[in-house]
Symmetry: C2
Subunit: 198 residues, 2 copies
């Protein structure tokens, strides 16, 4: 190899990041080597610091430098609603949108026969425990509108049936700004089924 | 922000990598946080190690852990031919294709009126010095087939006119507007075989 084992190792690690293939990993590593002070060293430091400081919240599964996380510690948030999401990325997306001011619960994935993900691989026990607390009134199942996401939502609704909480899920329909032309059939069908007075 | 300043900093640094926008940088940082032992810590270490060990070769401009670099130190390579490239990425591309077994010279860019890049910003002096050495018979100008690349090739051909070397350029196997880094091995090899006087 032309680039030497140190650079090849860097390329190989970068190519494991989602969104970076082997070719773009090579370009990224070259860019890093050419911006050593501005980018490479700061990124090495930021990664080491994050690896040292950040961990999963033992309450909700969010990633933060504190446990409980900032969301769980925020006293202004509504304790009576828990929004169940698949991943921390989904939690971030909802926070960016300021779509929700209650608490979260990160499942850590969805049930998948294909990928061999069963209930024991997800944080289901923690959710059931939280759902049983007196102040919790509603659990929102904000799972992806995929087959596995919906299978998981049904599974959770079953499991939570004994808790005295309302179980809801996000509305299906045409996204804000969405053009019908670009939507898939499933979305269009769901939007039609849930049509309401204008 | 939901993700906290440490994670936001990581996202911000990752988004400076070519090929990663803000959205994919967020996904990448989440993936890193979820694969701390397998990916995040190894990447932090690889970056720190590369930043510490790797520098530009004082002869050719290649990036390596040694100076002179492995290409310059390889006694099996042909001293009589120097291939001039814009970037280390181009050098890597030619090495991956095994298209060339001589020496290299990395210019560090191309002349560009628009970007304010003049001859003094490129490693032109080093090239002229190397071209004057007795054992050098040929300089291959393997610059990108862009307007700036070709302007730079003409400039260098002028500058090298006094040295008693053949000045060649890659055949028009390189598509107009094409960048070496993006070409397949066969095209690169064919372009080398058909190189002609500049
Ligand atoms: Zn939390
Ligand atoms: Zn060298």
């Amino acid at each position: 190899m032309s680039a030497g084992p140190e650079i090849e190792r860097l390329i190989q690690l970068l190519s494991k990041l989602p969104g970076l293939g082997p070719r773009s990993a090579r370009r990224a590593s070259l860019s890093l080597l050419q911006k050593r002070e501005q980018l490479m060293i700061p990124l090495a430091d930021a990664l080491a610091e994050a690896a040292e400081k950040i961990s999963a919240c033992s309450t909700c599964g969010n990633l933060d430098v504190t446990d409980p996380c900032a969301v769980c510690r925020d006293h202004r948030r509504d304790d009576s609603v828990i929004c169940v999401v698949e991943t921390v990325g989904d939690l971030w997306a909802l926070e960016r949108a300021s779509a929700f001011r209650g608490r979260y619960h990160v499942l850590g994935g969805v049930l998948s026969a294909l990928d061999g993900v069963g209930p024991e691989d997800l944080n289901v026990a923690g959710l059931i425990e939280r759902a049983g607390r007196e102040d919790v009134k509603e659990i929102i199942l904000a799972l992806n509108a995929t087959v596995d996401g919906q299978t998981t939502a049904h599974f959770l609704a079953d499991k939570l049936a004994e808790a005295s909480v309302d179980i809801t899920s996000l509305a299906r329909g045409v996204p804000v700004g969405g053009e019908l032309d670009y939507l898939d059939d499933g979305t269009l069908t769901a939007a039609f089924r849930s049509r309401r007075p204008a």
